[in-house]
């Protein structure tokens, strides 16, 4: 009986340890987060061209 109770408490502690991992992965793979990652940061140049942010502008011929 004593051993069972102790093992139960250890199992409960392990479950508690798993909780932050679960929170991390649900946050990392949440649909909102994935959508945010899928968005491509673009900007409009003075000439009206669309370029990727942070990329050098290609010289016009």
């Amino acid at each position: 009986m004593k051993t069972t109770r102790n093992i139960l408490v250890i199992a409960l502690l392990l479950l508690l340890c798993a909780l932050p991992f679960a929170l991390h992965f649900t946050h990392a793979f949440s649909p909102r987060r994935l959508d945010a990652d899928r968005l491509v940061p673009v900007s409009l140049t003075e000439e009206g061209d669309v370029t990727l942010q942070g990329m050098p502008k290609t010289p016009k011929e």
Partner: protein, 180 residues
């Protein structure tokens, strides 16, 4: 009159014994903490340590009382911040204080269940210590997502708690006579 005098003497002696034991345990915790900082125990993850002073704390929880253990933890954290740390209000002191408070509270509540082994009680203390530290960091830095780190700290705390609980249990078995 004589009986009263004898009782007063006995009370004074008990109080002195208790005070001496508390001072001894605080000194032991400080020394263990310092010795531990000298041992290169690095896994590449910050904040992971064995926490040998926890074995003294679990001894205090079982052999003295919950308020005394709480006071010992408070004195240890503040003195180690003053002697080895960056000061009373440094982040490491705040994290240590939060972890210590929660772990002593959890261990103190669980120790009332006489069926639980001290090792398991110490494991619960280790888990709560890691959780409280990261929770306080996340509270102080809103927007930070440190759940993965919290999980790792809790798992490691469980392992180190088992080690310190085992040491504390062994010490307690040999020092039952010290119970005041």
């Amino acid at each position: 009159m004589r009986i009263q005098k004898k009782q007063t003497r006995s009370d004074t002696r008990k109080k002195t014994q208790r005070l001496t034991l508390c001072a001894l345990l605080t000194a032991m915790m400080l020394i263990l903490g310092y010795v531990e900082s000298l041992i290169p125990f690095n896994f590449g993850i910050p904040g992971i340590k064995l926490g040998l002073s926890n074995s003294v704390l679990i001894f205090a929880v079982y052999m003295l009382s919950l308020p005394t253990a709480f006071l010992l933890m408070l004195v240890k954290v503040l003195l180690s911040a003053l002697l080895f740390g960056g000061g009373f209000l440094s982040p490491s002191t705040v994290f240590a204080l939060a972890g210590g408070c929660l772990s002593v509270l959890v261990m103190g509540l669980l120790h009332f269940d006489k069926g639980l082994w001290p090792i398991v009680v110490s494991m619960a203390g280790g888990v709560s210590h890691g959780a409280a530290q990261v929770a306080v960091y996340m509270f102080m830095n809103p927007g930070s997502n440190l759940f993965l780190y919290m999980g790792v700290l809790m798992l490691v705390g469980m392992g180190t708690g088992a080690v310190t609980g085992f040491i504390g249990d062994r010490v307690m078995r040999h020092m039952k006579t010290l119970k005041t």
